[in-house]
Symmetry: D2
Subunit: 251 residues, 4 copies
């Protein structure tokens, strides 16, 4: 049995992520791209084209209006636009209460590999008292560590605490300032910056006689597309509000 | 609240794994080593010492007798001895039916990192159509690929099939014989053999713009001890037969 | 003391490598881009602009005519165009005999990292009886192993032989076909193909208790530019014909 | 033509390195172990056994007396004992002036891979404005960074300066304290400490579109033996004082 293709509309199709989404949907055999709507276009095109799912990569100041329109016209939504406060999420839940058959995915990170790496780190943290994170980025990056690495460290720290494991620590007594990295919740984080690098994260766990390493290498924004496509496929099957791609992965 | 220490007995304490277990239990703050029994010793020492949990690293020809004794005297068991056929497992279940409060763990691999790597590979396989395995061992190893790598490849292949994902394949049209590795269920496995290596496995998943890598490095048999200790801690709480350390990890 | 900038002309500036060269020269503080010449343009522009060094990224059928013009007008040359046979190199040497003050660099690979990795592999091969190569590329690549990896294996094999070292071999007696990779001169080469990869080569040497690894990761063709710029800087100082960027590196 | 085996004596054969040397010499087909001398033994045994080369892994307070004896009896020396000041080296040169046919190697580090990695880093530093060092050790190590990593950073910094290259720097404006590692001569050094690690060093160079990585993994002290054996083979051919294994490698 073959299902009919999912009819997809894209809001913000001229932006970098929107344009990438257009290409990805066009390349997906189980989807049809039926409408693209830019900032000066009428979103009614989505309704006329009978879109099943609408992807939104627009701006924080327009996304809520877009979602109100999309949901009121019975379409599911996959949202990569940022800026979702608790108030906005509450508003979304209220709209969805009136349309219990619709699904909305809000995801700050669509890279499957990044989401999986974070989840694996969380799982491994329950079994190791020692972990460190090395993140490597191009030398134009302004912050160190990266937001993802800081979030990973916090996730490990919290999972370890919940499992009742004391951090293992180390025996350093003589340190050149900074050598042991940044201390985020007893997880050391090291930030490497070099031209030629793109965006890489390595999470290492150690115990007597072994190490376990989880590494994610991200080369460009095409890496977000499998996550976007997965969201498109899943929303018709997952009514209600879903926050975070990891929820869709059923890990 | 502090629990009283778990009272641990070790069968086969003069073997390499048994000796390592003795050291590990002695180093665990929540355990007391109360008895060690070699091949010519009387296992009654376990009963006299009031062991809660007995670890067995003996031989296939003695392990079933040991377990019958251990269970009939109301002790839990953690077993690293090999040779468990379906018949033996059925026998164990029958004994446990009479002692429903007891727990037995049978595990072919106690290395937490190896078990976690396998589990993560299985989880990731549902989201990637392309995966390859590189395993690296010392140059005295007789088989290629390693049993673990072959098992990993089969696990990926099966998880991918269950998720309905077709293997991604590659565009190789000109190949020097062997360059693309061994094909195990559409997962290519590469075996590197060099002096200086110990036992390493790297599992790589790729999608547009990103790769996800899971790596396990094993240096020596101390790496099995956290798994053994975990089994000791869990068996009193997990009545019945448990096969495979991964079951205890609740991933 | 500050030298005056090197005056650079580019032949083939509309091709991918030529365009990249234009950007690189424009960004180099010690160079001035003084002329760009496409396939339908008059190369006399190079002379009028008083170029010191001319970079040629054109085609095999035009490069010899270009070089004859460049040398006869007293300009140095850096050439990335392919197709240099022994006859062509002899012709170049004959032209240079008349202009002993001029330098010409012919280089098939301008990536500094690739050239250095090859050179380091050659140096290390004299001290290790065991080496393997893992090359990792995107899944659209047609050949396995890559030309670079095959060349690396041959280089190691030859350096080892010259040092009088017998290949160390391994103890494999049971192999799934292909697991141990392609055998190129007693150096095993493994080719990994995954979407998300770009072009990577890892050369591993092993001896008792240690391994030495040299790895080159190439993301895009900007990686060729430091080598091109180095060639531009060096040719005025290195009269005669130089074949291969490694000659310029003075390793 | 087959040479007769090199006759080797070992001073300090009961220490850890001395014992390892005994095993290594016994396993070398081109060497004969002819004498072993402990701290309470008479070194005359070396003379009686007609040793060609004597290896010294003793203590700083005995090594000079040993070397005076060894040289005065016409034997070459390979020395891993530490504590060689400029005064001691001057004394050695004075003794060797009287015996110009003899060779002495003083080496603080006999691991071939470590010496090669350092040398390659020095060579690469001339071509990259950006480099970072990641060193990874077991969690019982007292100092961070390791002495080898600090030495590597200084070597890179110096080679870069000699080549007239300004350090590339990075764009970090917001840093959690320590994230960017220790700054040693404009080379950032990151120290990872985890149980399960042994001794590893990774040196990364980056330029537009590429990275070059040199990595050394050391598992145990057997890794020093190829360097010791090389020293034994080379000293009869290299009269005079040689300081540092890298001098013997002819890189």
């Amino acid at each position: 049995m073959t299902s009919s293709p999912i009819r997809v509309g894209v809001l913000g199709h001229t932006g970098r992520m929107g344009a990438e989404t257009v290409r990805a949907v066009e390349g997906a055999p189980d989807m049809d791209l039926v409408a693209t709507v830019g900032s000066s276009d009428d979103p009614a095109a989505l309704v006329e084209a009978k879109a099943d799912v609408v992807v939104d990569f627009t701006r924080p100041d327009t996304v809520m209006g877009n979602l109100e329109f999309v949901l009121s016209h019975g379409m599911h939504a996959v949202v990569g636009t940022t800026g979702f406060t608790d108030e906005r999420l509450a508003q979304l839940r209220s709209w969805l209460a009136d349309r219990p058959e619709l699904g909305v995915l809000i995801a700050p990170n669509f890279a499957l590999g990044a989401v999986l790496a974070m989840r694996f780190a969380q799982q491994a943290a329950r079994f190791y008292d020692s972990a460190e994170v090395i993140e490597l980025h191009h030398n134009r990056k302004a912050d160190a560590p990266s937001g993802t690495a800081a979030h990973t460290a916090r996730t490990i720290s919290q999972a370890r605490a919940e499992a009742g494991i004391e951090p293992g620590g180390d025996a350093t007594v003589s340190e050149v300032d900074g050598a042991r990295g940044a201390d985020l919740g007893d997880v050391r984080v090291h930030s490497v910056r070099l031209p030629g690098l793109v965006a890489h994260e390595e999470i290492m766990f150690g115990a007597a006689g072994e190490t376990l390493t989880i590494r994610h290498d991200s080369m460009d924004r095409t890496s977000f597309m499998p996550g976007v496509l997965l969201g498109i496929r899943e929303m018709p099957k997952r009514p209600g509000l879903t926050v975070g791609l990891e929820k869709v992965l059923d890990l």
